[in-house]
Symmetry: C2
Subunit: 264 residues, 2 copies
């Protein structure tokens, strides 16, 4: 029987809300067994860019990362946000250890080739260093991954945190029973974005398709859910999407591979 690994992606709104961050990290700390956390920090990066007079440009929800923006995201993700999360977890007794993808070569990426859009120093993941990560996990550390990767040639790259979480889940699934959580400010996936009673309990690829066709699922959720389904198909044991509270009380949206829905 493989050991369980709880893999949490926390969203940007949580990082911005001191009380919610503390509660989320306390919940995460108390999960049993091996744990790993992934975070971004886009809102703070955009604010720092503004202060520094660097224009924030986005395309299809992703940041266009020129050289100056790469410095900003490296400072904010790997510096400010990563060390904030690590120090708070350490204060709660969790032996957190912050990483970018360059550290221990845990995420090797390649610079995205310019297509219709030139994303600049954006990294597409080539290889996850599962051996390095499991060595850290088995030594008792809880890796805290920020959304910075590298190309193995000395170039840092900016990689979407949702994608990192999915790729880590996939790479670690052969060694652990991976439970992947996309934890953000919403209680889960909504069938109607403005109606909290429309929370979807279970989502399988077929119902996901239908919801997308009907325009029920917000555009921002689609890449997240695509990543989440990819991880489930590639071996994650469970995938949940929701808030800290909905994850804690078992009402977060659970992704399934078939429409054989269990009873909640």
């Amino acid at each position: 029987m493989k050991e369980e690994l709880h893999l949490f992606k926390i969203g940007g709104a949580i990082l911005e809300d001191a009380a919610e961050l503390e509660n989320t990290l306390a919940f995460f700390s108390n999960l049993p067994g091996r744990k790993l956390l992934v975070h971004g920090g886009g809102r703070r990066a955009s604010r720092l860019s503004k202060t520094l007079g660097i224009e924030t440009r986005m395309a299809e929800g992703r940041r266009i990362t020129d050289a100056a923006t790469l410095e900003v995201v490296t400072m904010v993700y790997a510096g400010l946000e990563n060390k904030k999360v690590v120090s708070l977890l350490q204060a709660g007794g969790c032996n957190a250890l912050g990483l970018s993808g360059a550290d221990g070569n845990v995420i090797l990426a390649e610079k995205r080739q310019p297509g219709k859009i030139d994303y600049g120093f954006a990294g597409d993941i080539r290889k996850v260093g599962a051996k390095s990560l499991s060595s850290l996990l088995e030594s008792g550390f809880t890796p805290i991954l920020c959304a910075i990767t590298h190309d193995g040639q000395g170039q840092l790259l900016n990689t979407n945190a949702d994608t990192i979480a999915a790729e880590l889940a996939i790479a670690l699934a052969p060694f652990y029973q991976v439970h992947l959580y996309y934890c953000f400010e919403m209680p889960g996936v909504m069938a109607r974005i403005d109606n909290p009673d429309s929370l979807i309990a279970f989502l399988d690829p077929e119902s996901y398709s239908i919801h997308k066709e009907l325009g029920n699922i917000s555009e921002g959720m689609i890449p997240k859910l695509d990543n989440a389904f990819r991880a489930l198909e590639a071996g994650a044991a469970t995938v949940q999407v929701g808030s800290r509270k909905s994850i804690a009380n078992g009402t977060a949206t659970q992704l399934l591979l078939t429409s054989d829905f269990p009873k909640k």
Copy 2:
């Protein structure tokens, strides 16, 4: 017989010079056995502070760290400079893993109590997590420490990199034969600061005292040398102060506990 550990502190001028940094990291990578690197990043932090309109205040060569300055040094040391060094080392085949003192609780500090000067969020080291560090070293990682520590209660702190290097050497000396190097832009300690021919080959506490009394040693060097002698007295096998070149060719200043100088 204890394994050898090469512990390098690299100075700020090296971080600012791309070619010298690359050469220094290549030299470091090629050292045999276990390795650990400590760096600061003060010059870059001062520039970022200026751009952000935050005043840089120093007292006795140390940065006064208010809340805004702590964010700046966390971004620059733990983010920008640490990940630059890690990605360059990884490109050279060295399995570098960047850390602040909060990561894995490797350096626990306490906020310095305000005395004549209030240094703000400055951290005095209380405990080095030698077990965490040796676990990383024995797993094949090369730890890259930046000059950020924490108090174990969720507060990050700013700690002098020279002091960190000395404290790490002292804490790791029971487990390794520690070779400590203070690598900076000068070939070593000079008897007359403006005369490169006045390089001191060996320095013991007695001759150090005399040089200090005579005013031969520059003020900036004194805290560095105090740290270096402290590490030597507390168990470091060797301590050298010099540039990459002088360390490589064996002409850096070597610290000794007695005046029984060996022949170079």
